[in-house]
């Protein structure tokens, strides 16, 4: 354990440089397959950052390393300047790293409201309470209904998630993540599987996220990426291939060659 003084010194150093979430020389391999190769990455506080790359570039693996689902083979993950590499997923969530999944991971048999309430209750450390009925915890249900209103899900609050169209289920994913009051929000292909007629709801929801939350979005939809992101990181074969502003990335010939090409010209 590092001393509290050292920790706060590092935290203030991180604040000075603005990196809320940072990785240093992060590597992960499954046998001979290297899926994360020496990734150095910085997510600034309040950032709108996109991570793009071809299929199999290791984007989701990177999210799993950030959230603690996977342990890296070497390297570090720092949150607010503090080393969280060894912390399990639940502890990182408590420190403010929340995520959504590429494929919906919801409590399908429960109502939309309950889905969000479970997340809010865990964040408020009320998830293990055994005496008072869950429905009477107004601090939890109030917060959950506030989030549903924000994402315009109020009308569906009482419906079972399994009955919702897929696009609205994607919004529940985001509502659950926001219920954790994250400082860092990792959106893994939020628009995946949404018919284009519904995608504006999702775009509005992402544009309306609280500005203080640092958002990292993984996305294949280049419209969404270039509308949303202030910075873009391109990942190829588990390594950072390029990083810069959207204009820089769009102008980068190598990036066009490996990945963007058709998407931008089209």
């Amino acid at each position: 354990m590092s001393g509290a003084g050292e920790r706060s010194a590092r935290a203030s150093q991180a604040r000075a440089t603005g990196a809320l979430l940072e990785t240093r020389r992060l590597c992960k391999s499954f046998g001979a397959l290297q899926v994360a190769n020496n990734i150095g990455f910085r997510l600034e506080a309040g950032a709108r950052h996109a991570l793009i790359g071809p299929n199999g570039a290791g984007k989701t693996t990177f999210v799993n390393l950030l959230t603690g689902v996977l342990a890296p083979s070497s390297g570090q993950v720092l949150l607010d300047g503090e080393d969280v590499t060894r912390l399990p997923q639940a502890k990182r969530v408590k420190r403010g790293i929340a995520r959504t999944f590429q494929i919906n991971q919801l409590f399908r048999g429960l109502t939309v409201l309950e889905n969000v309430c479970i997340a809010v209750a865990e964040r408020m450390r009320a998830g293990g309470g055994m005496l008072r009925p869950a429905g009477l915890r107004t601090e939890v249900t109030d917060e959950a209904s506030r989030l549903l209103e924000m994402l315009r899900l109020s009308a569906d609050a009482g419906r079972r998630v399994a009955e919702l169209p897929y696009g609205r289920q994607r919004l529940v994913e985001i509502a659950i993540a926001l219920g954790l009051a994250p400082r860092v929000l990792l959106l893994d292909e939020p628009a995946a599987g949404i018919p284009s007629a519904e995608s504006h709801i999702l775009l509005d929801a992402i544009a309306g996220l609280p500005p203080e939350i640092a958002v990292l979005i993984i996305e294949h939809d280049m419209d969404l990426v270039f509308r949303f992101a202030q910075r873009i990181t391109v990942l190829v074969s588990g390594a950072v291939f390029a990083e810069g502003t959207p204009a820089e990335i769009a102008a980068n010939h190598e990036v066009r060659a490996v990945y963007l090409g058709s998407a931008i010209d089209a």
């Binding site: 969530v93 919801l106 009482g158 954790l180």
Partner: protein, 327 residues
């Protein structure tokens, strides 16, 4: 903000509904209507309690176990051994001892086996039970081995109500009272945030990890509580019948209670009541009417339930009611 109908619905969900009085009215009515069947009735009540404990882990937390009789047996042997070797025959403290021992067995075994899921977990719960069964068989000086411990007698309940060897009148009311007390606890747990988080674990383990819930701690804790209640059921069984033998922790009992819960409907609290009554009454009447072939009829009935009524009898009633109300 709390004007949302879904919020109001959630806030009202734990409230008692009128039909929840029915099992208890029926339980008391049966006492007066069937005075000659109270020993059978006592066994039904014990089985309901045992199935209720299973519902907490299987129906709510989604932990599939084939070894739940391990905890029933742990409670039963606790009471039996205390009575036979230390003359500890006061029933209520016996219940507490049984709950503590069975709960501890649940806590330790749960801590080990709940690292796994699916078939592995199923096998490990089965192994836990087999280990206990073998232990009870081997330490025969203590447990009576294969023959068990017959002829146990216990002090009057609260010092007032003698156990009634002939008609089981006090046993029946005792079992009903213990069932009620345990039911109140289970019902409270199920509607609490803890219970909701167990449902969350059942519905989506991955998501539950991702919202920062201490998933394994919750599972192990639920397993231990369920084990303690199963232990109480085992203790009431021994108090009522005055004997304990290896059958209390056999596969027959573990599989039987699983069938009962699925028959009644799991994850809905009252499935244990419906399943136990229907199964045991059918077993009782069929075995009298067709002493050789009755298991065939029971098996066919269960196959029909498994094929056409996945959510058990209560699930079937729910579906019919929904069809009735939406023309």
């Amino acid at each position: 903000m709390s004007g949302l109908p879904a919020v109001q619905e959630l806030a009202a969900r734990h409230r008692l509904r009128w039909w929840e009085a029915l099992p208890w009215i029926a339980g008391i009515a049966a006492f007066f209507l069937f005075p000659n069947y109270l020993s059978f009735g006592t066994l039904v009540l014990v089985t309901i309690l045992f199935a209720l404990s299973l519902d907490l882990v299987l129906g709510y937390a989604g932990i599939v176990t084939l070894g739940h009789a391990a905890f029933f047996g742990a409670g039963a042997y606790t009471v039996g051994i205390l009575a036979a070797h230390w003359n500890w025959t006061e029933p209520l403290s016996g219940l507490v001892a049984a709950a503590l021992v069975a709960g501890a067995v649940g806590l330790v075994s749960g801590w080990v086996v709940l690292r796994t899921q699916g078939l592995t977990l199923l096998m490990l719960t089965l192994c836990t039970m087999a280990l206990l069964e073998q232990a009870a068989n081997m330490f025969s000086g203590f447990t009576g081995g294969f023959d068990g411990m017959p002829g146990l007698s216990f002090q009057p309940i609260l010092g007032l109500f003698e156990f009634d060897v002939l008609y089981f009148r006090s046993q029946y009311l005792y079992a009903l009272a213990v069932l009620f007390a345990c039911f109140v606890v289970v019902r409270m747990l199920v509607y609490s945030p803890f219970g909701r988080s167990l449902t969350g674990i059942r519905e989506n383990l991955l998501r539950m990890h991702a919202v920062g819930a201490p998933v394994r701690a919750r599972q192990v804790f639920a397993y231990a509580i369920s084990a303690a209640i199963a232990g109480v059921a085992g203790a009431v069984f021994v108090h009522a019948t005055g004997y304990v033998n290896l059958a209390v922790l056999g596969l027959d009992r573990a599989a039987g209670v699983l069938i009962i819960l699925i028959l009644g409907g799991y994850g809905r609290l009252y499935g244990a009541f419906v399943g136990a009554v229907v199964y045991m009454v059918l077993e009782h009447t069929l075995s009298k009417a067709y002493p050789t072939a009755w298991q065939l009829g029971l098996g066919l009935g269960l196959m029909l339930v498994a094929l056409y009524a996945r959510n058990g009898i209560l699930g079937l009633i729910d579906a019919l009611r929904r069809r009735w109300s939406t023309p």
